[in-house]
């Protein structure tokens, strides 16, 4: 996560996002994928259309967090809001996957949501600051594979979630739908398309059992 944050810092420095802005963004937004995409369109931030695009991209790229948040309801629904929403405010993909693994291994403490979120948040901010500092010296971040930290982290977290091939069929459907959708849909819609296809598959499969 620190490396991923540093990766954002480096990209931000190259995109013309100032150090204070990069750190503020990592603190307030704390959503890596959206921040990486916004860095690419940051040059137009002062125009109305640029601002609208940034808002729309943020909405689109982060929409999956809506589904993750909804998925926590069966587990945390009975607790009072003040215990849940601070943790939800720090919800991220890695945080959510860590929580999913924690649950799969039998964990039941709701405080784990906030604790893991907070830990990742601090790491993310420190990583951004460090990366931005170093950004000037690193000419090509891709040379070191920094751009692939997120996918590597994701695929690794899949291992503890494995429950046999039957349960993994929706994953395959989601992956291949996203792969095909990425060719036809505008950028970043493919994630949502894949996730929806995967969910529908889960519903259909379990129905037939």
């Amino acid at each position: 996560m620190a490396a991923f944050g540093a990766g954002f810092g480096i990209i931000a420095a190259h995109a013309g996002i100032g150090p204070a802005e990069a750190i503020l963004m990592s603190t307030l937004v704390f959503a890596g994928a959206a921040q990486f995409v916004v860095a690419e369109i940051w040059a137009d931030v002062d125009t109305a259309s640029g601002l609208t695009t940034i808002a729309f991209v943020t909405l689109l790229v982060n929409m999956r967090l809506f589904l993750m948040s909804a998925a926590l309801r069966p587990w945390l629904g009975s607790l009072p809001g003040r215990q849940i929403y601070p943790g939800l405010a720090l919800l991220t993909d890695p945080g959510w996957l860590l929580i999913a693994r924690y649950r799969a291994q039998g964990g039941a403490d709701a405080a784990a949501l906030f604790a893991s979120g907070f830990m990742l948040w601090v790491t993310w901010i420190v990583g951004t600051a460090t990366g931005h500092e170093l950004g000037i010296f690193i000419v090509d971040p891709m040379q070191f594979g920094f751009d692939l930290v997120m996918p590597c982290f994701f695929i690794v977290l899949l291992v503890p979630l494995w429950r046999g091939f039957y349960r993994a069929i929706p994953w395959l459907v989601a992956g291949f739908t996203a792969l095909i959708a990425a060719r036809f849909l505008p950028p970043w819609w493919h994630i949502m398309a894949g996730v929806i296809a995967g969910s529908l598959t889960t519903g259909a499969l379990n129905d037939r059992r």
């Binding site: 982060n62 993750m68 998925a71 994701f154 695929i155 996203a178 996730v195 969910s199």
Partner: protein
């Protein structure tokens, strides 16, 4: 600055909204199973297109990360070996 605040606000509404909204809907058994199967689907939908876009470097990075994770059950080690594999493949110019 305005853009960052807007991004933060939108992201918070999404994060809190899913949990909040589904509290007002009757969650059926099938819907619960669909929600529980989400993590794997999200991982696949994010990761596969990135791997395809990066060609050999992407495929080798993910395969290396997955292999190391299966062998040693260490998240950190898996990620480190994964990006190292990508760096090596790119250096080799594949």
């Amino acid at each position: 600055m305005v853009a960052i605040v807007i991004m933060g606000a939108i992201t918070f509404v999404i994060r809190a909204g899913g949990f909040w909204l589904i509290g007002y809907v009757q969650v059926s058994d099938r819907m619960r199973r669909m929600l529980e199967a989400l993590p794997g689907s999200i991982v696949a939908a994010v990761v596969l297109p990135i791997a395809a876009k990066n060609g050999a470097a992407g495929v080798f990075a993910l395969a290396a990360a997955l292999t190391v994770m299966l062998a040693f059950r260490s998240t950190l080690l898996g990620v480190m070996v994964g990006i190292a594999a990508a760096a090596l493949v790119r250096r080799a110019g594949l």
